[in-house]
């Protein structure tokens, strides 16, 4: 085989590997968007929060629990950084809400208001009955599992979906962002899909 042929094969492999990598992109758009089921939860101020509260604006939803010392606060701060970056690119009405789905209601409900206020007054935290949480989590193609409390201090872990769900103003799952979370690429991704979407 000639050197020229080898180069062509090499280039094809490089291009194929590029597109293979693109398929594994942590920034995934759903076309068409996926409708979410009706659910009935409460926000951190004990006000009802359901599908209707997702209508009319973009939302970034992620699962977590307030007793999580590492990933949850870090994700919260990264989303704050993303929203700050989006603030330079998008009009205020198109900036997404940040919605923390607290999947450990026993420990989360009493502290959710103070927890959310610490990070940003506009952040939303929702929790409620496990059956209603399950409806929302299933609709987001998510998962969580509350471990059994250990003897002694009663501490327990909660395993949950790591990704961030992007909800469009029609209350549909429009995209998914998987870790690792890098602020700049996420801001670029969201800017693109929000600008391409229909006006509010």
């Amino acid at each position: 085989m000639s050197k020229c042929s080898n180069k062509v094969i090499l280039m094809v492999l490089v291009v194929l590997s590029y597109f293979h990598g693109a398929n594994a992109d942590p920034l995934e758009t759903f076309k068409p968007s996926k409708a979410l089921p009706h659910f009935s939860l409460q926000d951190q101020h004990a006000r009802p929060f359901g599908l209707a509260q997702l209508h009319g604006h973009w939302s970034l939803m992620f699962m977590g629990f307030t007793s999580c010392p590492d990933v949850c606060p870090v994700t919260m701060m990264k989303l704050e950084a993303v929203r700050a970056e989006l603030g330079l690119r998008l009009p205020p009405e198109r900036l997404p809400n940040i919605v923390f789905i607290a999947v450990d209601p026993q420990r989360d409900r009493p502290v959710l208001e103070g927890y959310l206020a610490y990070f940003h007054p506009e952040n939303i935290g929702i929790t409620g009955d496990l059956k209603q949480l399950d409806i929302l989590v299933d609709g987001l193609d998510g998962f969580y599992r509350i471990d059994k409390p250990r003897s002694g201090d009663g501490h327990y872990d909660v395993i949950h979906t790591a990704s961030i769900a992007v909800i469009n103003p029609r209350g549909e799952l429009a995209a998914k962002i998987s870790p690792p979370f890098y602020v700049e690429p996420i801001a670029n991704f969201l800017t693109q899909i929000i600008r391409q979407a229909d006006p509010l």
Binding site: T66, S67, C68, P69, D70, V71, P73, V74, M76, M77, K78, E80, A81, P110, V111, G114, Y115, A117, Y118, F119, F143, D153, H155, D157, I159, H160, T161, A162, S163, S178, P179, P180, F181, Y182, V183
Partner: protein
């Protein structure tokens, strides 16, 4: 950025001693073989009873070490944990011991190996410091001072995001001991 590094290096403590002995006297002879760099605790809301502590342990000695426990008078208990993301799920698991290779280091950082501190005895505000002790196998201890930082300090600082930054810290740490 330099100010940021400098502030964190203020919490650099380098005391290796044998437990139960006169630690200051021992430190003079044994330091600076092991160092804790950039020990920090992002502050969380007071209503939450857990915190994470992040730091780098640098072992400049010719022998490997094993971290077996961490304690602080500021908390009821401190556990070594590892955050894992697998099949799209995030979970934490306890780690019983951590090896620090000779002439090497171990990074405790956001979204990776970290210290989970349970039951804070006081609400430290940002900028305050508290003591923490890292226990190694063979009864060796490392005294560390942890700086309480704003939570957004870790937003751009994760296990896979900042290898350059980590390298700079370690470099400065080693220079400090020369």
């Amino acid at each position: 950025m330099k100010a940021y590094f400098g502030g964190f290096l203020c919490c650099l403590i380098v005391v290796l001693a044998l437990a139960g002995n006169n630690m200051e006297a021992r430190a003079e002879s044994l330091a600076p073989m092991v160092a804790a760099v950039d020990a920090r605790q992002p502050q969380l809301p007071e209503v939450v009873a857990v915190r994470s502590v992040y730091l780098t342990i640098v072992n400049s000695s010719a022998s490997s070490l094993k971290i077996v426990a961490v304690r602080s008078p500021a908390f009821e208990s401190i556990e070594i944990h590892r955050t894992q993301v697998s099949d799209g799920l995030v979970s934490m698991s306890a780690v019983t011991a951590v090896a620090v290779p000779a002439q090497g280091r171990v990074l405790f950082s956001p979204e990776g190996l970290h210290l989970m501190a349970l039951g804070p005895k006081k609400y430290y505000v940002i900028g305050e410091r508290y003591p923490m002790t890292v226990y190694f196998e063979n009864d060796q201890v490392l005294l560390v001072e942890v700086l309480v930082v704003a939570p957004n300090f870790v937003a751009q600082d994760c296990t896979y995001c900042a290898p350059e930054r980590e390298a700079v810290h370690v470099h400065e740490s080693l220079q400090h001991h020369e």
